[in-house]
């Protein structure tokens, strides 16, 4: 760690990982409700559990992005953060907002209240006061980071990262606009949800990956920047009009079916480019960085993102296919692998890289960290296959044969049991990861002698 103010990232990563634990436990609970539907149905209804599962995901990913930015921007800009104090204050605002959200959701406080009650729009159901808090926190963050970059060195990595983070914050403003026309409501809603994960978040992902590749492989910055620009161009070109793949059945004009199908099919390109980028850099790189866990997470991130977001996304993005698969377990399969591959793994990669530096230790306990990678990646991959099969069966029975929803659900029970098992393995992996970065103070296994063997 070169700059003292990078330490801010530690607090962000800690809160992010705590929420990660909450998120996966929520997922496990939701997975259990799938096999035992009346479990806690009075106390904690499924819709609330699901909301906590998805929203805690989004919030911890955002905290991870903030942490990543606070970690890498001082190093790229070659100066201390503009104001570490402001960064801590921002974290406090976000934590208070998150607690407010959880309490409001779980106990359904202030129902119907304009300022204090939840708003009921999936993912952006936060009470209005929390939304304002999020905007205030985002402004603090952008001010802090932008000032740091403006006063320091500007690199392609920080430029793209800033572009992504500014876009993220500006797009969130759509959450304040809630038209009474349901079609318009959905259309604006997707401007946040889609343009985040298939637009500006990809910029954040590409720039953080580029930073990791720069550090881990030692490839020249010039080469990395060229890749970065191509990836970002491909992401924005396909992703922005790719929003059309959410407009198929919400009441927007029919031509969106073709705009959405064509542009979103190309969304696989940036993910393929990111995967190629990561592997080519590692092959070209001459640096043998000791932090193998961070490298494993980086490569895993690029690969799983390509399959989860790229391939599984393409699987049901054409409107002719989506007409049948819309809202089945196919969507759940895609959602799980895409979020895990792209954004969870990205956060875990930067955390794996940064934690030893932030805590002033050599890369430590990589064995446990890498074991947690395989547990999580294995669990999630298995879950994805299980849900894909479940979704295929569901699509056929429900959408082709016309059977009733609940009758079909009964026939999917075996898949839901397997999904619960896969989820349990994942949760184990998640806790192992948190343990691996938080607790041990020395290597569990000493590195072997392989490094000393001369090349063939």
């Amino acid at each position: 760690m070169k700059y003292q103010s990078q330490k801010v990232a530690l607090a962000y990563f800690a809160v992010a990982l705590a929420l990660f634990a909450v998120q996966v436990l929520g997922g496990l609970l939701a997975g259990w409700i799938y096999v035992s539907p009346n479990f806690l149905s009075e106390l904690l209804p499924f819709n609330i559990v699901r909301m906590l599962h998805t929203n805690s995901l989004i919030v911890w990913l955002l905290l991870g992005f903030f942490g990543a930015a606070y970690f890498l921007v001082p190093e790229e800009a070659e100066r201390e953060l503009h104001s570490p104090k402001l960064a801590y204050l921002q974290l406090a605002v976000l934590v208070i907002g998150t607690l407010g959200v959880v309490l409001t959701y779980v106990f359904n406080l202030f129902e119907g209240n304009w300022l204090l009650g939840k708003e009921g729009r999936e993912f952006i159901e936060q009470p209005k006061w929390v939304k304002v808090g999020i905007v205030v926190a985002a402004l603090m963050f952008l001010y802090n980071i932008t000032m740091t970059v403006l006063k320091g060195k500007k690199t392609a990595i920080t430029n793209i990262l800033l572009l992504g983070l500014w876009g993220l914050a500006l797009l969130f403003l759509f959450s304040f606009y809630n038209p009474s026309n349901l079609s318009l409501d959905k259309q604006y809603w997707w401007n946040i949800v889609h343009l985040w994960v298939e637009g500006v978040w990809e910029l954040i992902m590409a720039s953080v990956l580029a930073y990791l590749m720069l550090k881990l492989t030692g490839v020249d910055r010039e080469v990395i920047e060229k890749w970065l620009y191509v990836i970002v161009a491909a992401a924005l070109f396909s992703g922005i009009l790719g929003t059309g793949h959410h407009y198929y059945w919400i009441g927007t004009p029919g031509y969106w079916q073709w705009i959405g199908s064509i542009f979103s099919s190309l969304e696989v390109v940036p993910f393929f480019a990111m995967m190629s980028f990561a592997f080519v850099m590692v092959w070209k790189g001459r640096r043998d960085h000791p932090n193998k866990a961070a490298l494993l997470w980086s490569l895993g991130c690029a690969t799983l993102a390509f399959f989860g977001a790229g391939v599984w996304g393409f699987l049901h993005t054409l409107h002719g296919v989506n007409y049948y698969t819309h809202g089945t377990q196919i969507t759940a399969a895609h959602g799980h692998l895409a979020f895990f591959g792209a954004y969870v793994s990205l956060n875990l990669a930067i955390i794996s890289y940064a934690m030893p530096l932030l805590r002033g230790r050599d890369p430590y306990n990589q064995v446990l960290n890498m074991a947690s990678f395989w547990l999580m990646a294995g669990g999630m991959t298995f879950m994805t296959f299980v849900l894909t099969f479940a979704g295929t069966v569901q699509t056929h029975l429900q959408r082709v044969m016309g059977e009733y929803f609940m009758e079909v659900q009964d026939q999917l029970a075996v898949f839901y049991w397997m999904r619960f098992g896969a989820g349990a393995a994942f949760v184990l992996g998640a806790f192992l990861f948190i343990y691996a970065v938080a607790v041990p103070r020395r290597e569990v296994i000493q590195p072997g002698e392989a490094a000393g063997v001369p090349a063939e």
Binding site: V219, D220, E222, V223, K226, Y229, V230, A233, A234, F237, S238, P253, G254, Y255, W258, I259, S261, I262, F263, S265, L266, V269
Partner: protein, 188 residues
């Protein structure tokens, strides 16, 4: 200042003429329009008679004139780069202005065409043919607008490298039209 580092090996990409990002854009555009045309032809298989009937409402002669207009415009843009390389800056700019003007003529004719269709009550929902017709030619027309702006920019900042990038984009717009014209207006 430090000594220039040895150029990193970026492979084949370094041998491309002009701007790398412009090529990324051109390839992406060709993929999109190619996919659009492929979809058009696929849907046409399901209803050849309907497509033929719908095509009869179009005016191939007008579109033919537009083809000549756009290709001439492309020629002027290409000449402009040669002139600029021959250090004839003023002539290069006049050629770019000519290319832009012909781009505007293309748009004027296109606008006439759309107005005539609208007057007949033909919208994107009239028939699948017209969905593609409006989408593909509309996207293309939007690129003509963008191209005119781009040519204006490179006429202003007229480094040969810039003119090359502007002309490359303009040729892509040309190429896309040359593909759209036979498939939509003639083949139907």
């Amino acid at each position: 200042m430090h000594a220039p580092a040895p150029k990193p090996d970026a492979g084949l990409l370094d041998d491309l003429p002009g701007e790398l990002m412009m090529w990324v854009l051109i390839v992406s555009e060709l993929l999109v329009f190619g996919a659009g045309l492929a979809a058009f032809l696929s849907v046409r298989i399901s209803d050849p008679a309907g497509f033929a009937a719908a095509r009869a409402a179009l005016d191939p002669a007008l579109a033919g004139i537009n083809t000549v207009v756009l290709i001439t415009s492309g020629f002027l843009a290409a000449r402009s780069l040669d002139l600029r390389l021959g250090l004839k800056r003023a002539a290069a700019r006049w050629h770019l202005a000519g290319a832009m003007l012909l781009g505007a003529v293309f748009l004027a004719i296109k606008f006439q065409e759309y107005a005539a269709k609208a007057a007949e009550g033909i919208s994107t929902d009239t028939h699948a043919f017209f969905t593609f017709y409006y989408l593909l030619t509309g996207f293309h027309a939007a690129h003509v607008v963008a191209g005119i702006v781009l040519l204006g920019l490179v006429a202003w900042k007229d480094a040969p490298r810039n003119i090359e990038a502007g002309a490359a984009f303009w040729h892509m717009v040309d190429l896309v039209w040359v593909l759209l014209f036979p498939v939509i207006y003639v083949l139907g």
